[in-house]
Amino acid sequence: MITFTINDQQVTAKKGWTVLETAREYGIEIPTLCHHPAVKPSGACRLCMVELKEKGWSKLVASCIYPVAEGISIYTETPRVHNVRRWILEMLLASCPGSPEISTLAQAHGVVSTRFKIHDPSQTCMICGLCQRICEEVVGLSAIAVVDRGVHKKVGSPFMRPTDVCVACGCCLTVCPTGAMQNIFDTVRGEPKMPLTQLAM
């Protein structure tokens, strides 16, 4: 048993648990985006940052991948945490301005506009790679991946063409935290042979 505190509340955890898991077990909310219980955490989006105080030092850690340790003090709602959260949301607003999920989340944290340059106003993907992880770990395939490097990085199937590897199970679609997969999905599984006709409303 490992004993430590979250927001000055004493909690107990077992070896191998993460700070986020322990917090959630005790009903303490930490916002996340790229975390999904079905797959291993990757710490991509950094939204789950919390402040860790240990021996007089303080640092920010990503709670979804930070393992619990004896005697640490975790704070989830300090000004420093709020500050970094808002910065992350502001950056996300610039990188995926087209995502209603992101704007709702940002609004909930008081972020309504961004100071960063918006390159593509329709972009919805934040390239957290959750779709890739779920395809690999849960479905057991690699139909989708994060391709290219640096500023050209994007999510898709090889050569951005429909792939036979994809079995169209829709796991990526369900877990996508920003709703970006809706637009990418048909380029991965291929357009349906007999699509449903949508009536104009």
């Binding site: 993460t18 986020l20 779920i134 395939l141 369900t174 996508c176």
Partner: protein, 762 residues
């Protein structure tokens, strides 16, 4: 290991997603008396929650777990992996999606939502109670591996297998490497540069000590299942030879054939690429003007153009090198991109091989000595002179290769090429990991690619056999099994099954079918179609689904609807409707099922017998069943129920089948809302004695009447669908005959209602 069933239900709070929306304490008090154990957890999916489930399972000796939280499509695997060490296996864990199907659907009160959740969980408990869980089996696949099909990819496959020290058998028409190479251009034209290395590979392979070669033999029969195949070869002298094998690799090459007369094909001056190469081999490089026409666009197969262009170019280069006075040019559709790399383009310029594009809009016509085409630059029809016009070959699988493929059960669809699996399912659902098909019969490819495929097939087989020897090769838990006592060997299941999982074990004596558990994808269309109930989808049987739908239907209010949603279409559409914050009619009670095709007509009838006012089946998109045309078979079954309803005076519209696209949840919402409105307008089926008797007869007929069940399973698909063309009849005629049969049997069923045993088969 058979002990009492002990069911543990774990209700998930899911932070703010479920707890504030559903009255969990109320739900707990409803469920707790029905289950053997019940607990509310904050997050069962996270490590602390998982540990609590495991300790509760150990303390209460639970062997069935129901987690009521979110979607099983993504989460179930985590629970299965975590609970495997405590002997709770796949099939023994079920998930009820409170999150998407109850909490987020509507703005009803937490109390009302708790009532809906309780219904869904009760249904799940009922299913778990009748589950007959099997033990985890391990597959045993030893050598030898048999490589058949005469394709060139046999050799790299054999090489990889013999290198690993596994015994291998190879069936080839010709064992002499020189003769094999001599005929190779008939399948792979323009590959001369690889012949030397290939010859070494063939020689090395043929000399391997683990290899047995059958020369001049033809595969004529295949029986058995993965790990235990018996193959019969017919030798040249007419004798038959039988071999036992653990695994099979089919190395098949596509056949190249000439096009129709509109291209002026005559076999001597207008010929296809493989014939040109034969000409070169026999008579040397021709002099004069040689035009390679990449005519794949005109054949309607533009996807093969690049491949043809590449072989044309290699042949052209060879001709230029052998005889500089030959004038070679490549004549191609402007839509085709020239498949040459930068370096190759430089070589091409030096060799002065012209690539002449023509306008796609004007089809070139062949004349004696000329071919006319429309130039892109000036839109004038030009003429290109030729002494030899070399056309692209038409590619397809036929003859010997097709016969072999049919014996191996690889011909699934009416496409010119072969596919390994029709089924589009998760890899864990198919036990066999190896690719057993290599070569250009899969899809047109060049020699390099064919050899690579062979190599890959070899490696995969070796891996599989090594895994099996280490006792790590698991048989999927949800597969069909045949009860040989009930099977009358009608062969319907074999006809329906597209995964090739159903076969016969021996050729003599009675012929009950067997299922190859390593090939079965667990679609269950065959099980639901079996007229005699001899096929059972283990760990996910019809009995289970019947129990589940019965429990749910008993709890239905007069205006509530049971919806069975397929995990590849309806269910993800429902989950995504929640993700996109849509709401739909909360009277819909969704049961997730792996495929609509596995829903037996008896399950549908049972829902109405137990009091459901309406049943909606939501499958995947048309033509996109991930198993074997499940939705089309379900269509016939729904049709049966509708006809029976007509006979009893119930409204036909109470049962319906729908399609859903997971990426269009808004359409899913329309589907369920419209059906709910309809059922609400119709009201329940009045519970008079006459109606109840009718419903009971319908159920009896659907479950036990072998005549009707046989008619259903031979109906295969809808009249207008073409995949089983030979079996389709005049739509109206068929329907009238079917109705007449149903009427006859229904009268019979009504009179025999009091003696259901009469209907039961032995």
């Amino acid at each position: 290991m058979m002990t009492d069933t002990k069911i543990g239900v774990f209700l998930c709070k899911c932070g703010n997603e479920i707890a504030p929306l559903i009255d969990l304490p109320r739900l707990y008090s409803t469920i707790q008396p029905e289950a053997d154990y019940c607990e509310i957890l904050s997050f069962p999916c996270l490590q602390p929650g998982l540990e609590k489930i495991m300790s509760a399972a150990a303390a209460n000796r639970l062997n069935r777990i129901i987690i009521a939280g979110c979607e099983g499509r993504t989460m179930l695997k985590k629970f299965e992996t975590a609970l495997e060490p405590v002997d709770i296996l796949k099939g023994q864990i079920d998930m009820v999606n409170l999150h998407s199907h109850v909490a987020a659907v509507s703005d009803k009160s937490p109390l009302e939502k708790a009532a809906k959740a309780a219904k869904l969980i009760t249904a799940s408990i009922a299913e778990m109670r009748v589950l007959k869980a099997t033990e985890q089996e391990r597959a045993r696949i030893d050598g030898p591996v048999v490589v058949v099909g005469n394709g060139i990819s046999s050799f790299p496959a054999v090489q990889k297998i013999t290198e690993a020290g596994i015994e291998c058998m190879l069936s080839v028409p010709e064992a002499d490497p020189d003769k094999i190479i001599r005929n190779l251009h008939l399948s792979y034209p323009g590959e001369r540069t690889h012949y030397d290395r290939l010859k070494t590979l063939i020689k090395d392979t043929m000399g391997s000590k683990n290899l047995t070669v059958f020369e001049h033999s033809r595969l004529t029969e295949l029986v058995g299942v993965t790990g235990n195949y018996t193959l019969t070869f017919t030798l040249q002298n007419g004798q038959e030879e039988t071999v036992k094998a653990g695994a099979i690799i089919a190395a098949l090459d596509a056949e190249l054939s000439p096009p129709g007369p509109e291209f002026g094909y005559d076999g001597c001056s207008v010929l296809i690429q493989s014939e040109m190469e034969e000409h070169i081999t026999r008579n040397g490089t021709p002099k004069g003007q040689v035009v390679f026409w990449i005519s794949d666009y005109e054949y309607g197969t533009p996807e093969h153009a690049t491949l043809s262009a590449k072989s044309a170019w290699t042949m052209a280069m060879h001709m230029k090198a052998c005889s500089p006075e030959t004038n070679v040019m490549i004549f191609h559709n402007e839509k085709m991109a020239i498949p040459l790399t930068g370096a190759e383009r430089a070589v091409n310029r030096k060799a002065q091989i012209a690539w002449i594009p023509y306008d796609n809009a004007v089809r070139p016509s062949v004349q004696d000595g000329y071919v006319t085409f429309c130039n892109l630059r000036d839109h004038v029809e030009h003429e290109l002179a030729w002494d030899f016009l070399v056309l692209s070959p038409k590619r397809g699988i036929s003859g010997e290769a097709k016969t072999t493929a049919k014996i191996l059960g690889l011909v699934h669809r009416e496409t010119p090429f072969l596919t390994g699996h029709h089924a589009k399912v998760r890899p864990e659902m198919i036990g066999r990991e190896e690719t057993y098909l290599a070569g250009s019969a899969r899809y047109p490819c060049d020699l390099q690619e064919a050899l690579n495929q062979g190599r890959k097939a070899g490696i995969r087989n070796v891996e599989m056999i090594e895994k099996s020897q280490a006792a790590q090769l698991l048989v999927p838990r949800i597969v069909c099994v045949v009860d040989p006592d009930k099977c009358v060997a009608c062969g319907q299941c074999q006809e329906l099954c597209d995964c090739g999982g159903i076969g016969i074990e021996m050729l003599s004596g009675g012929l009950p079918r067997v299922v190859d558990p390593m090939l079965c994808t667990g679609g269950g269309t065959c099980a639901a179609a079996c007229p005699y109930g001899a096929l059972v989808l283990q760990n996910n049987s019809t009995d289970q689904k019947e129990a589940r739908i019965a429990a749910l239907s008993r709890l239905m209010e007069p205006d509530e609807v049971v919806a069975m949603a397929c995990v590849w279409g309806g269910l993800p559409a429902a989950d995504n409707a929640h993700r996109r914050k849509m709401s739909y009619d909360p009277r819909t009670h969704i049961l997730g099922i792996p495929c609509v095709g596995q829903i037996d007509p008896a399950v549908m009838a049972r829902a109405f017998l137990e009091g459901a006012p309406g049943l909606l089946l939501i499958g995947c998109l048309p033509e996109e069943c991930h198993h074997s045309y499940g939705i089309d078979h379900a269509w016939n079954r729904v049709n049966l129920i509708k006809k029976l309803f007509d006979l009893c005076g119930f409204d036909r519209r109470r049962i319906a089948i729908a399609h859903a696209d997971m990426n269009k949840p808004e359409e899913f919402v329309k589907t369920v809302d419209a059906f709910n409105a309809l059922i609400a307008a119709l009201g329940p089926i009045p519970k008079t004695q006459a109606n109840l008797d009718n419903l009971a007869s319908i159920y009896q007929l659907c479950k036990y009447n072998t005549r009707i069940r046989t008619l259903l399973s031979v109906a295969l698909r809808r009249p207008w669908e073409k995949t089983y063309r030979g079996d389709q009849r005049h739509a109206l005629e068929f329907d009238r005959d079917f109705t007449a049969a149903i009427e006859e049997e229904f009268d019979f069923a009504e009179s025999a209602l009091n003696e259901p045993a009469f209907y039961r088969y032995a």
